[in-house]
């Protein structure tokens, strides 16, 4: 009797794991923030693409086992990609931990992350480097309590004008964000915002084209990907619009003049450098009627889910995600080795 020992072979050999000659990459995702679900999705997608590119990649939650995992010689990774969104992921904490552990990682250092994570501070920093940003004020809930909420609400409307945006000063995925178009909406928008954090950023809502520009280290150079324009049926890009595939449309590059596109890419690089960011970032802008990109915020751990802007921008620009992410890994490893 003969035995056929042939095993099933993947149709696309790129799916086969071809362990490269280095320690595994660890993607840290999950965490305890409000953006846990987005982070898990980002992390698992990056893991999949890097595996396709031939890397050995593991994922780990930010939990009580993580330190042991990082320090144990049997599991210690060769490189870490922190893909935690929200607090502890983007506020620099996990990056401080990785530096203390002596591990190379992809992305910005702790101090720069902390600056970018705090939207009001980030706005000030990029303003000093010559970029424009919508007029805003930053108010903790306590200020409303001490000075009286009614008077403060009136003053806000008088000062910022309507429409305006209310956002938690720290946070992502548009959680806790509201657009306010009439005075009576403002108190509830503030209550909803303070449910996510103690400080509100109240920002003038500028009419224009909402875009994001992703910046990545590609082939050893820092490059701005083509600006991505966000279009939603009702003009509101909230959590639901971000996480539900379908109704939201992206245009890459954005439907702007070549000069505006170039200005937006330059502005993203300026913001990236001004904030001291490293390797990868995504900066959100509103391009006003005069074609000026107005800085809204920069993200040090941009979303990498199936509906996220950075990967969509890269795909539309003709990049293959396994290659692109692999190039970033190579670049960071090379810098670390040198």
């Amino acid at each position: 009797m003969t035995t056929n020992n042939a095993r099933i072979v993947p149709a696309d050999s790129r799916h086969a794991t071809t362990h490269r000659d280095s320690s595994p990459i660890l993607v840290i995702c999950g965490g305890l923030s409000h953006e846990r679900e987005v982070s898990l999705s980002s992390g698992h997608r990056v893991q999949g693409f890097l595996r396709k590119a031939g890397w050995e990649v593991r994922t780990h939650d930010m939990d009580q086992d993580l330190l042991t995992y990082l320090m144990d010689p049997d599991t210690r990774p060769g490189l870490v990609w922190p893909l935690l969104h929200g607090a502890h992921g983007e506020d620099g904490s996990i990056r401080d931990v990785l530096e203390m552990a002596g591990l190379p990682y992809i992305g910005s250092r702790a101090k720069a992350s902390r600056t970018a994570w705090n939207k009001p501070i980030a706005k000030n920093v990029v303003r000093q480097s010559g970029l424009s940003t919508p007029h805003s004020v930053t108010l903790p809930e306590e200020v409303f309590r001490e000075l009286g909420a009614h008077g403060m609400v009136d003053l806000l409307i008088q000062s910022i004008g309507l429409p305006l945006f209310i956002k938690p000063s720290k946070g992502g995925s548009a959680l806790g964000c509201s657009m306010v178009t009439s005075p009576e909406q403002l108190p509830q928008a503030l209550v909803d915002c303070f449910a996510y954090g103690p400080v509100a950023l109240v920002e003038q809502a500028v009419s224009g084209t909402e875009i994001s520009v992703s910046v990545m280290e590609i082939g050893g150079d820092l490059r701005a990907l083509p600006p991505l324009e966000i279009w939603t049926p009702d003009g509101i890009y909230n959590y639901e619009a971000r996480a539900t595939p379908g109704p939201t449309k992206f245009y890459v590059p954005a439907r702007l003049s070549p000069q505006c596109l170039a200005d937006a890419q330059e502005a993203a690089l300026t913001a990236h450098r001004a904030l001291g960011l490293r390797d990868i970032s995504r900066t959100d802008f509103i391009v006003d009627e005069d074609g000026r990109p107005l800085f809204l915020e920069s993200n040090v751990a941009p979303g990498m889910t199936a509906t996220s802007q950075l990967p969509q921008s890269a795909l539309a620009a003709g990049y293959e995600l396994p290659d692109l992410y692999s190039s970033l890994v190579e670049s960071v490893l090379n810098k670390h080795r040198s």
């Binding site: 595939p245 379908g246 992206f250 795909l315």
Partner: protein, 433 residues
């Protein structure tokens, strides 16, 4: 590496090229902030008073694994094979003594259909009974899983008022008449008569025949969903509606709460005509329930004292209900709640002006989770309530969770009163009622 595309003509990316092709019934299937927040609830740092997971820590898994290994050795080819769309005859026999505990003594194995959990049973009965625009009457608040099924079949769910004795018969009759006057086709009444999810109340014994009489007279099918009936804390069971009427009631029960939910095994009992269509619908949906799961259940029922296990569950859940009640008295005396006599849930009314849905991010930050009352209504009501589950956390964790929740409510009250949004909230809730 592939280089960037030099072509600058915009590419339109919709993220989902099939978006325009979906059926209308898929429109409500969208991501939400609330769902995203629940991703954190599974972390051990968070005291989750949200999910209705039974506590399985006392199951005799070591002994069970021996019996299951034997079952696989002796009947593996059956367990891993296709089976009957109606379900394993052995299991359909086994459910009869379980139903007898709640007075159903006239059912035959042929009346029984095994389903993939009662959720699948709800899907099947709605699938065969309801067209888009038909009306299902249901208690308000209503089991969120049933609302999801009804919504997916584009059925109009009309709320029927409940009180401490469960569904109010007069309200049921009035609702049927009002819908018929409006030209609507009322297809069924959906009820969870025992230890209701989320309200925790039980339909009184006196009301049961009255509800049945109205349903018979007005020709409205009753769908009786009874997952918790054997989990009364004083050991008492209530006569199932199906025990008093075999022709006008479709009965659903499940092993999820009295054994474990992981097998996804439940059953339905229906009059012959409906039963036949349920079997065909089951076959169409899933071909057959999993033999492996069904035989796991029969192995458990045949080799273990399942009644003693239920007794143990009752005692454990009673202790947890008491822990919840005591913690609420201590930390949240400004709220009001029921003290359920069985089941898994406490239905908490929060202080005036608070919105349980809007408050959830603050709760997640404080590492405690609950389900906002809005999940249990189809019309935006319920923001003034939350469902607190006491089934899974230990009494100590329940107490800690309620302590954290009290802090969340205090802080939210501070913020809401600061901005005077409580008055607007009250007006909104009144309008929705």
């Amino acid at each position: 590496m592939t280089t960037a595309n030099p072509n600058t003509a915009p590419t339109v990316i919709s993220n989902d090229p099939w978006f325009d092709s979906y059926a209308h019934r898929a429109e409500s299937m969208r991501a939400s902030e609330i769902r995203a927040l629940f991703a954190v609830a599974s972390r051990p740092e968070v005291v989750s008073l949200a999910g209705g997971m039974p506590y399985l820590g006392r199951m005799p898994f070591a002994e069970l694994s021996e019996q299951l290994a034997r079952m696989l050795r002796e009947q593996g080819e059956v367990a891993w094979q296709y089976g009957s769309a109606q379900g394993d005859p052995h299991l359909r026999e086994d459910v009869l003594p379980i139903m007898a505990l709640e007075g159903i003594t006239d059912a035959q194995p042929d009346d029984v259909v095994i389903t993939n959990g009662s959720q699948s049973g709800l899907d099947l009965i709605t699938r065969i009974m309801c067209d888009p625009g038909d009306v299902i009457l249901a208690e308000a608040p209503n089991y969120v899983g049933a609302l999801g099924v009804f919504q997916s079949f584009q059925v109009d769910v009309v709320n029927v008022t409940m009180d401490a004795d469960g569904l109010i018969p007069e309200a049921f009759e009035e609702a049927v008449q009002a819908q018929r006057r409006a030209g609507k086709h009322v297809k069924m009444l959906y009820t969870v008569p025992n230890f209701h999810n989320p309200a925790g109340v039980t339909m009184s014994v006196e009301r049961r025949p009255r509800i049945l009489e109205i349903a018979r007279r007005l020709h409205v099918l009753i769908v009786e969903d009874n997952p918790y009936g054997l989990l009364g804390f004083d050991g008492r069971t209530y006569p199932a509606l199906r025990s008093m009427d075999a022709q006008n009631v479709v009965y659903l029960s499940s092993f999820s709460k009295i054994i474990a939910p992981g097998m996804r095994v439940a059953w339905m009992v229906a009059p012959p005509g409906i039963r036949q269509k349920l079997v065909l619908a089951n076959e169409s949906a899933i071909l057959c329930p999993s033999n492996m799961s069904q035989m796991t259940v029969t192995t458990y029922l045949d080799h273990f004292d399942w009644q003693a296990r239920i007794e143990d569950y009752r005692s454990m859940y009673r202790e947890r209900r008491d822990a919840m009640d005591s913690a609420l008295h201590e930390y949240l005396p400004t709220c009001s709640w029921n003290k359920p006599k069985g089941g898994f849930y406490t239905w908490l009314k929060i202080p005036k002006g608070l919105d349980a849905k809007a408050m959830l991010p603050r709760a997640i930050t404080a590492k405690v989770a609950y389900v906002s009352g809005t999940a249990f209504y189809n019309d935006g009501q319920g923001a003034d309530h939350m469902r607190l589950s006491f089934c899974y956390p230990t009494p100590e964790r329940i107490r800690e969770g309620v302590r954290r929740l009290a802090g969340v409510i205090d802080r939210e009250l501070d913020t809401v009163s600061l901005f005077d949004t409580d008055e607007g909230m009250d007006a909104q809730q009144e309008e929705q009622r």
